[in-house]
Symmetry: C2
């Protein structure tokens, strides 16, 4: 398979691995650095020629990289079909904004999908490094290494007083957004999320849904990230977010234990009904599917559901999304057709698990 096809089709994503520290609650950690080159105007203002030249310059630096431990692939946005761009968005490899660009814009992705560099999005460069579980240190180390490497070849727009200059002033300073994706079903069920979200601004943090800015928390997934990029060092931001994530992990853990201690039958009923819906429904919206998968994940974490590998759940989480679903079926589908196909696909995946569990290896998970 061509490497590009892997990005568009593979569901076995490294950062969804899960068997890492706090992997049952923190799905992934992400570091994003916004950078702009000194000798170019910002994307909002520059010409098509500048955009093209910049895209070529940066991607060549990355593709030729020999000192980095990674191999990269360049994907041009304008020539990528819309369905495949949707898949890249759903895999968090590019932003929805980049997907909509109609002139020289691209993404450079490492083979294991842990690094992606968007070129000519809101800023010239958006370096993204993602790691499974709670691992700000490693994600930052990877981003920082790549950042230093790039800076050797392409001088950045940097101001002694303000730090890295960006298109949007909210990113100026460190240009860094550090985020953790958390699965918080127990805090959601026990109505504690509102209180947690309300304390975020005081901590300079912000909570979003799984698909970034402006989207609601579907399936009890919350993305927590720093709001402030100016006046705080990278180290301070990482320390604060680490501390906050650990506190939330602890509260979620306590809530799960309390639910299990005081309402085990109700929890057992809830998570198994969701599993039943995934096994039996013939029509499933992406929201309902996400919520059922969230309950099943909780059921596995609580020991109430057995024999469903995390890998399978992660695959399900990806394939319920519209882009992936249509990429799978190989054609565009209307929303109601998607709901039927989504239900069919989930039934197939879960039945394959059941068959495999019974020792029949002819089925592919």
């Amino acid at each position: 398979m061509d490497k590009k096809d892997t990005f568009f089709n593979a569901t076995d994503v490294r950062w969804m691995a899960g068997d890492v520290e706090h992997g049952d609650i923190v799905m992934s950690t992400r570091i994003r650095l916004a950078r702009n080159l000194k000798d170019y105007r910002f994307p909002r203002a520059f010409s098509e020629d500048e955009a093209f030249k910049l895209d070529q310059t940066i991607s060549n630096v990355l593709l030729d990289a020999e000192t980095l431990d990674q191999h990269f692939t360049h994907i041009d946005i304008a020539t990528t079909p819309i369905l495949q761009k949707k898949v890249l968005v759903e895999k968090h490899l590019i932003s929805p904004q980049l997907a909509h660009k109609d002139r020289s814009a691209s993404v450079v992705i490492s083979d294991d999908e842990s690094v992606s560099v968007m070129i000519n999005e809101e800023d010239h460069l958006r370096i993204q490094c993602i790691e499974p579980g709670l691992d700000l240190e490693k994600a930052y180390f990877n981003a920082d290494t790549l950042d230093r490497y790039l800076e050797e070849y392409v001088p950045y727009a940097f101001d002694e007083e303000f730090g890295y200059l960006t298109s949007c002033p909210t990113n100026t300073g460190t240009g860094m957004r550090a985020s953790v994706m958390m699965h918080l079903p127990a805090l959601t069920m026990t109505d504690q999320m509102e209180q947690i979200i309300s304390m975020m601004p005081r901590l300079g943090m912000v909570v979003r849904g799984i698909y970034g800015e402006g989207t609601e928390a579907v399936g009890n997934y919350y993305q927590i990230s720093n709001q402030v990029t100016l006046g705080k060092s990278e180290e301070e931001i990482l320390t604060d977010l680490q501390s906050l994530a650990e506190q939330i992990v602890q509260r979620e853990t306590e809530s799960r234990k309390a639910l299990l201690d005081h309402a085990e039958t109700i929890m057992n009923d809830r998570v198994n009904r969701s599993l039943g819906t995934l096994h039996y429904a013939r029509i499933l919206t992406s929201d309902e599917a996400a919520n059922c998968l969230s309950n099943v994940r909780l059921g596995i974490d609580l020991g109430l559901i057995e024999n469903i590998p995390t890998k399978v759940l992660n695959k399900c989480m990806l394939v319920i999304q519209p882009g992936f679903l249509q990429q799978y079926v190989g054609t565009t589908l209307k929303p109601n057709e998607r709901d039927v196909y989504r239900a069919t696909l989930l039934r197939e995946i879960l039945n394959n698990v059941r068959q495999r569990e019974k020792g029949d290896d002819s089925y592919d998970v």
Copy 2:
């Protein structure tokens, strides 16, 4: 097993057989005759001595019956434990009113449970004959045969002008209530039941839920019976009810076809989700269980669900009821305990079907 124990435990009831005319829509047909003896005061007014004597007289006539093709068992109400009385009510062998009697009252039941005679309920005698499917002719023939037989030994209170005299004037005349129990999920889903129910009084008919007077239609089961007993002959009542039942069967059949033609996926989703709930829920109220079973029955009738025998569904319908459930577990349970036990029992029964389907005969349906 003692014959009485069979009545309290058996779930394989002949009148739930189902493989009869219109058996997919009409569950059963029932004829009830109210009779009083000439030489006794009505139950509302008579003494304990009279009640006792009457109970003995009638039950002896039935137990000694040699000309009838049936063998009967006498069950005294006052000495029957409450749980077992609940089961008899749930099997429609006695009325809730009889179950609450604290003096000489009894029921005489035929071995196949198709005939039951309540003694000293509201009237001295309530003869009930039940048949599977739509079969007013046979049910009436059986009731009439037993009625004529009894009249030879115990003279009835009969008035040339009014007909059979009863405790409640609404039964005076023929003393007959003919009823059919119908499963009408398609008419319910398409909001046609209200209109059907509203036309009943003009036809001298009435619609009730599955558990008789004053109960709501649970699980889309409706009991349709004649309201009028005076001024109409038995034959007229039977002809009118037969005609009405056939019309409703036709409308239900048309609605099912329309649902399948125009909304097959939605129906498939609905009936399978219900099957999923029965397979996976850990807490099930009797109402939810009845509604899920109704959907599964519809799914079987429409060919959307396979491999669940009607016999198993009928068993499920019986065991979800509080009395049966507690009789099964052998002890009284609080309502929330019943909901958990109900879910467990249904999962077991349905899993046994699945095992058996796979050729493993060690499981008992």
